[in-house]
Amino acid sequence: MTLPSTHDVALAAERRTAARLLLAHPLVAADGPHADLFPLIRRHADWLGKRFQQVLGYRLLVDSSFARLFKAGLGAGSGHRLERSTGTPFTPHTYACLALALSVLVTAPEQMLLSHLVTDIRAAAADAGIELEETGRAAGKRTLVAALRQLVEWGVLIETEGQVAAIAQEAGGEALITVDRELARVVVAGPLAQARDGADLVRRAADPGFSGPRTYVRRMLVETPVVHLDELTDAERDWLRTRQRREGQAFSELLGLEMEIRAEGVALVDPEEELTDLHLPGTGTVAQAALLLVERLVERLRPQEPGHPATGGTLVIGVAVPDGLVDEVLAGLIAEYGQRSNWQRGYLEDLPALREAVLDMLVRMRLMARAGRLRAEGEGLPEGYVEEVSEGRTVTDVHGARPGGDGWVLLAAAARYATLVTVRPAATARQGTDVQEELPL
């Protein structure tokens, strides 16, 4: 094997940087916040395009003014969402406004007045048979502003003069808006035309299609924090277990992510801690409380003799969290850390709110979950998704590896954040008393 030259190393680093940027931000505008890295994407467009297609089945479109990685869906309960600038998640109605605005923009002239845009959106709402919240009311206006703000953030709308927030102002504020129609047309990535309804869209968008298990597993590895074995079908699990070391190596080279392979599943972790939209461990009250909660829960609930069936252990992917334990631990954490770490007052005084925020974060990071049907049991599979394991192979049995019912489940990967090192009992069973044998002569 020859040693890579300096040039090769620099090349690989450039490509890795560009690939990571696209994974974190699938829509990069040439003059947007990532303008400094956009030339890298342009330079390596061909290579990146081939790689994304081959590895993840994603289409990459690189134009002179933007780059778009068409990502697939993540199925139900993906834990991703759009949020207003205040951090409030989009409501279904805000999403509807966003889709209506897009429907206007794909055929819009290059420039338009804000008031015209609003009129057109209302017309579109009428066409769609949606009752737009009365835009005369402040809440309705803010919803529309939130949707338009999102479009401004994506670069689809450019506020040439004035701001879209002018809608919410009294006395009919006006703004001149430039529409980037090219961008407006690439916002949609999912198979809208084929889908029958929303649920069908979610299923279809996550369908890896032709390349099946391989593509699905890779997407989950790259896009989600942890892939637990029971979130894969037999074929997918089989493929992962056969390939995991090689995949780990490949992802390390391609994206700089390190693979952690354990009996219960696999996680790709970013040593730079940048390639993620949510940070855990992270800063702020919720992230800190989430980390500490997980730590305490693992201490209390760690199963007896967990391991891999192949080595005689019992596969435990999740353990049930008894009712009330979360509240109990959180109350303790508030007492211990609340003052010291200067936690947000709102959470200090409102335990249910803290519980909700913390559990939400842990679910989105895939360290906790609600008990429910799993992909290994056939949940959320697209129609006709072929489920075949090569003849004569035995796949790890994940049956019963996580509790049923409808309570909270602590997942195995959470244990990597337990701080207590298990002190293995020293080999006390001394055999025989013939000390002479142990003379280190």
Binding site: A76, A205, V226, A263, A415
Partner: protein
Amino acid sequence: MGASASGAGQDCDEEARRRLNAYTYLSAPERLEHVAIMRVFCGTLLADLAVPDIMAKLRQSGGSAAGLDADTLTVRLEQLVTWGNLLRSSHTVKASSISEYQRSRSRYQLSKLGERIQRDADGVLAEADAAREVSNELLGLVERGLRELADLVTTPGGIEPQNGLERISTLFVQFSEFADSIRDFYAYLGQVLSRYDLDSAEYQGFKELLLDYVEAITEDVAFRAPRISAALDTLWPHIPALLDRLDAHAQGLTGLSAQGEGRLEVRVQRSRGRELADWEGLRGWFRDTDGQGSQVEQLRDATLRALQSLLANAKRMLRSATGEMSRRKDLLRLARWFDEAAPQDAHDIAVAAFGLYGARHLGIPPATDEVVPAYTSWWTGPVVEVPVALRERGSRAQRGRASAVEDHSAQKERLREAARQRATARAAAADELRSASGRFAVVRLTSAALGLLLELLATALGNAQLRRRTGADGEGTAGFDLDSASSEDAELGIRLTVRRTEGTRTVLDSADGDLLLDDLELKIGRISAAADGEAEAEVSVS
């Protein structure tokens, strides 16, 4: 001077206004009737028509003006006279009856202006918004004509006037036809390109039009222009003389005005090519003469713009294979799905529809220096070290190397405690050994003391081996030399000296069992107190 100039200016304006009046009939409410009437006149040459003739002709042609009665028609005709499109005929007819007289009184004929405007109007009406073919073969003819003309003009004796006249007329007809068709074509292009919403069928036709056609034209023009320009350069010095000569040969209408001696200012429009200005126009088409760029250059720019515009359309269409309306329809459906969905489902639909989420990963990678078997469980496997600032304060203020987690302090304390206990135990063992030195036979050693003794003994024997080797090298003496083998522990301040004495036997009784040492004698002492330390210390150190 100033007054007369402004007076002349006013006259000019007045004249222009009067001439433009001739367009009025096209915008009057009865414009369709007007046009029909004017067509009747244009269909004749130098004819004057009376009302009944016009009525008959209108009926023949049918259309909106067919039903006009005589009175209305007369009103219309008078109106057209006022605007200057028609003239009352001066053609005198000897009438033989009253009715004939009245009829002859109201005879009309076409004015020049009226004829011209009607022709243009018919042209505009006839022209569909279609692409007009560019007669670019004419350009080749223009080039050939110019070259031949140049050859003829520069031959001794010059060109035969009639031949020259014919050639120049042909040349300018060809050129103006070509220039017109180009202008039309680009006007059409500009009109189509200004639309952003070409559908795919239009685009298909348009693509061929542009890619196959425009390029051909531009290339043709670019190819011919320098050659035409060169021919004109050759011809240029001879043109004034040539024009004079042609005028002498065939005066055309100018002859008339010359005869008129300015008596009447009859304005004559010369046929194309008979005046220097026409030639300058021709030259300006192919070469930049007035600093505003030649037509050829403008053509090139226009082509570039057209191609860019086409490209923009092409890009758009490639990306919207299904067309805009279905895209809009899809988005409206999506909006409905959103509106009907539960909050959590709406998030999932958004992820599926837009795919604009970022990848998400846990923080803090596994330690890379240890290889963990794949069957290791997360529950009991190695954990990661969370930076203490994040864990204890939820802040990254003190970022840097992940330091030990504070929770380890308990363990550290435990370890320290254990170490302390071990040290105490060893010190006690050392004391015990020192006190037992020389009376091993009667003392029963503790387990700790025996352990320490064995430790020291092993080191001492190791040292002795070393010594034996040096001895063998130096003097060749074989056998073990344990005479002064020793070891020590500086921390405990203990030293063990081993002597080999044939026939002795040391027995060490201990809690763990008895140790029998044949031919060895042990002596334990303090390091600092040892008087004979020097030499033995060297040995132990090495």
